[in-house]
Amino acid sequence: MSAVIRGVAECPHGRSTEPSTMALHETLVDAALADAGLERGQVDALLTVSPRSDPYLVHAEALAERLGIEPGPCHSVEAGGTAPIAMAAAAAGMIDAGIAEVAVVVAADLPLLAGSAGYLSTLTQVGPIHPEFEASYGVTPRSLYGLMARAYLHHHRLGEDALGEVALHDRAMAARHPHARFREPLDMAGYLASPLVCDPLRRPDCGPVTDGGGAVVLVRGDLPAAGHADVALAGVGQAMRHAHLSQAPSLVESAAGVAGGRALTTAGATIEDVDVALVYDCFSIAMLMNAEALGLAATGTAAKEFAAGAFGPGGRVVVNPHGGLLSHGYPARAAGMANLVEAIVQLRGEAGERQVPGCATALVHGMSGAQSGHAVAILREAA
């Protein structure tokens, strides 16, 4: 009996009221287990991302101790923004292989505890920036996305409003999500009046560092049901191209499509079957490159499609109904978890005013580094 996704939980993204990072993890795990109709003692696999706001390298072991559980597999995964999908795929594999029956996947962080500047400084030291040949120049991960953005706009002969279309879309979507970091409206005049922080990137082009996170419970499908629909992981694809952007074959292309193709093939689906796409957009330029690579828009046209409403409610495919990383928030090491959570919520029909009618197939995308690694999962309601 294969694995299904049965439980899901998320906390508001912004400044958390949780007293510690461990407490936030505990809250999320308990909420996801309650949603699945399960208890802590039933968890026999625990997968986490080591948060930046706690020092543990193998954070999952510290969390298991905090929860008072003794799982079998107890792992922390380093895979950047692909980690939520990678962890879900690993958990499903453990269940399918008979290694576990109830697996909890959780990613959460409280970067604002230490201050966002502190978090961004550590990113510079551990991100895809060569410690010997690049770090001394004053380059940050944000700089790398700015470099992609200028190359992309130049290559496709687009103006700076092309980036703004992504920021406007995410903000409009986030207005309908109670957990989103930024819910105030933003128009193009407001976007163009916002400060250039890393020219050509303006402040709304950059995912805001927030506290936040989410948890997902996967179980063997024949365990007693929870009173709501289960969600199936129909296909997962991953692709890794480079670590440092200087080694990429081009500054304007994304390998997201390689991962997407693998996931769609496994799921027996095509990109046209996708009702909701959760695309990793830590920066607006990442959305343009990734949406095109995934086949949601032709090369160089994603911004035009956003402007035309093709990715909003009633559009061809709804992209990031939760507001994306740009407006739902960028919860440090937990970035990407909200994409997985939103796909599950949409497939269960529980998204309230932002529910995409008839959502049957969801695509979840995650990305690490500087367009380095990509992961895509295709989710459906379980049979």
Binding site: S121, H130, S136, G138, L147
Partner: protein
């Protein structure tokens, strides 16, 4: 004109790239190349990633073209706050490899994708170590 008297933090220097750093201290851009594959390599390394053979360290022309650039206006890292605005770019060396570096000696408005650049070296807080940076130059004038 942007000041160029920035003292960079000492990079984490490894023995593997010693020929690169020794040359840089003397004002020369010396890069590994693979004689068997006839390819220049970046990042500096001792062996060719394609054939596994030992590299040959050769002087590069130091000439490059700007591939993309950003202007940091609000540094997120406190160590760099008093430098803003500063320019970071990808430069494609005439030898074909792409380096991330500082772009100096020009106002951001004078730069564009395709601007021709030449290497120069700037000090770090270790007097024995210098790092390459790139500045625009007029191709018509002597650059030696």
């Amino acid at each position: 004109m942007r000041p160029v008297s920035i003292v960079h933090e000492r990079p984490r220097v490894t023995p593997e790239a010693e020929p690169f750093w020794t040359a840089a201290a003397g004002g020369e851009l010396r890069l590994p190349s693979c004689p068997a594959c006839e390819a220049w390599l970046w990042f500096p390394r001792a062996t060719c990633p394609t054939c596994g053979g030992d590299v040959e360290w050769r002087a590069a022309s130091g000439l490059a073209t700007l591939t993309s650039f950003i202007v940091e206006r609000r540094a997120t890292d406190p160590r760099w706050r008093d430098r803003v605005p500063y320019v970071i770019g990808y430069v494609t060396l005439d030898e074909g490899v792409v380096l991330l570096s500082d772009i100096v000696g020009a106002e951001p408005g004078e730069l564009g994708i395709g601007t021709r650049l030449r290497v120069r070296f700037e000090p770090t807080d270790d007097p024995a170590i210098a790092v390459p940076v790139f500045e625009p130059f007029d191709e018509g004038s002597p650059h030696a």
